[in-house]
Symmetry: C3
């Protein structure tokens, strides 16, 4: 199980870094901008969580392999962009990103609960962990954060719902693995449905 989670984590980090690079490329950033956007998208949410909860060292300092991987991925992506090739297909990216959305939500809530955070702020921290990276990237790119727009398919909402499922199973006394799996499942299903059925908040 741990191995499965590690694989999901790595893939999700790669995919969100890649999403950051695509956005940076659209703004015609150079390599500095592209690798920064990649790291901010991938690590922004977790970094904000660690700052808000006063955890140290930061997870990308502890798992220093992650920034190294993303640095080299940025180089590979630059070459791929030049030949108009995509490293990940759109559909594959959606699935991996939806899994990551659930995983990072669960990790965020779980860490917050461990540190005795009350339920509602714990859910907020789960949502921040999973979604703040993209918001920070949009700010860096001088854009209105995409997830706040009415035209955007449910994203933060999926994380929010999934976090409450995690809390529910936690309060019922189920183990962490159950809560984590349910959270990933709920985020994955709601997010994929939202994209397939083009669901967005009507208000």
């Amino acid at each position: 199980m741990d191995f499965v989670l590690l694989v999901i984590e790595i893939l999700a980090i790669l995919v969100s870094a890649y999403a950051g690079m695509i956005e940076a490329k659209r703004q015609d950033f150079d390599f500095v901008g592209i690798s920064t956007a990649a790291m901010v998208t991938a690590f922004g949410g977790g970094t904000l969580r660690d700052l808000l909860l006063d955890r140290t060292p930061l997870f990308w300092v502890e798992n220093y392999q992650y920034p190294i991987i993303i640095f080299f991925l940025s180089m590979i992506a630059l070459v791929a962009f030049r030949y108009n090739k995509e490293l990940f297909r759109q559909r594959v990216m959606l699935y991996i990103d939806a899994l990551g959305l659930g995983l990072f939500s669960a990790v965020g809530v779980g860490i917050a609960l461990q540190l005795n955070t009350p339920l509602f702020p714990a859910v907020l921290i789960g949502v921040i962990t999973a979604t703040a990276g993209g918001v920070l990237r949009d700010i860096l790119c001088n854009k209105i954060p995409e997830v706040f727009l009415k035209t955007t398919q449910l994203y933060v909402t999926c994380s929010f719902i999934a976090c409450w499922f995690y809390i529910g199973f936690y309060l019922l006394g189920y183990g962490e693995i159950i809560g984590l799996s349910v959270c990933i499942l709920v985020a994955f299903v709601t997010r994929v449905l939202a994209v397939k059925l083009d669901l967005s908040l009507p208000f």
Copy 2:
């Protein structure tokens, strides 16, 4: 007195959250964007203060009722917006916001002084506590922060002056309640005057 301060705090948080929602509404944000803008406006300054001073847990984690209240207020506001109704009148908002400006300035300086922050940085932290939420909201909305513009009536300046009054009474050995009351009074009077007389920095 404590009760009066609590009432001011709650009203000021509600009013600044509401100001965040109005701005978000202008950008045509959905519910995710509106509630985020509300929370960032209301809690951004205090959160930045807590991060800069390395305080933990954050005040909105400890007082977890506040984010819950704002979450539900966002829902009510959404309905009100639909019927073009205003939850608070413009004039009422000015008065409450001016009280909050003074209160949060005083709280910020007070906490900074308790942690042995030298005077000038303590004043900066008071100003940040009272005004950074609005700056962060404007960044989220991809706007130039309003308080930096020449056309904006004195706001940060009122907080800055009020903070120095707090420091003055603190150095003179007066109790915290006196300093707090004077700080709120000065911020309130200067801010209301600035709006009524349309005063802004000439440079």
Copy 3:
């Protein structure tokens, strides 16, 4: 040597604060905006480093003279701007800024290594210390961060290379002063060359 470093530090802080003011002036900010932009440009990188490494008190709280100096410099600059005078010549600014780029890179990596940060994240923190202030200022001014654009002459890259030189000399067992000097030298030479020869990242 300590005295030389202190002089470089003060000059570099003044120059980056001044660069912040110029940018703020271009946006037609008032005094609040100009002094905020000055402080964010000068202290933003170091503040982010201290937050990420969980160091307390922040360096501008400890060295409280710096924000005071910048506050009064902002006032002087306002008067100078009015008479269209420049406080620093463009060429002088380039040289001092290039020295500061090296100094702050070295200080950032050095502190990170002291706190047992692995090498790659330590370099990132060095680069953040030296360059994040300008990025935060551009975000405040609602602009795309200049250092991310293809048209910008090497800046972050110079800091990145200089940080690795610091790490190299550190691993070879040389003292801190050697590492620091080499780091400053490398950043200075590469940055000045980049500007003189108009070098930017080709991708």
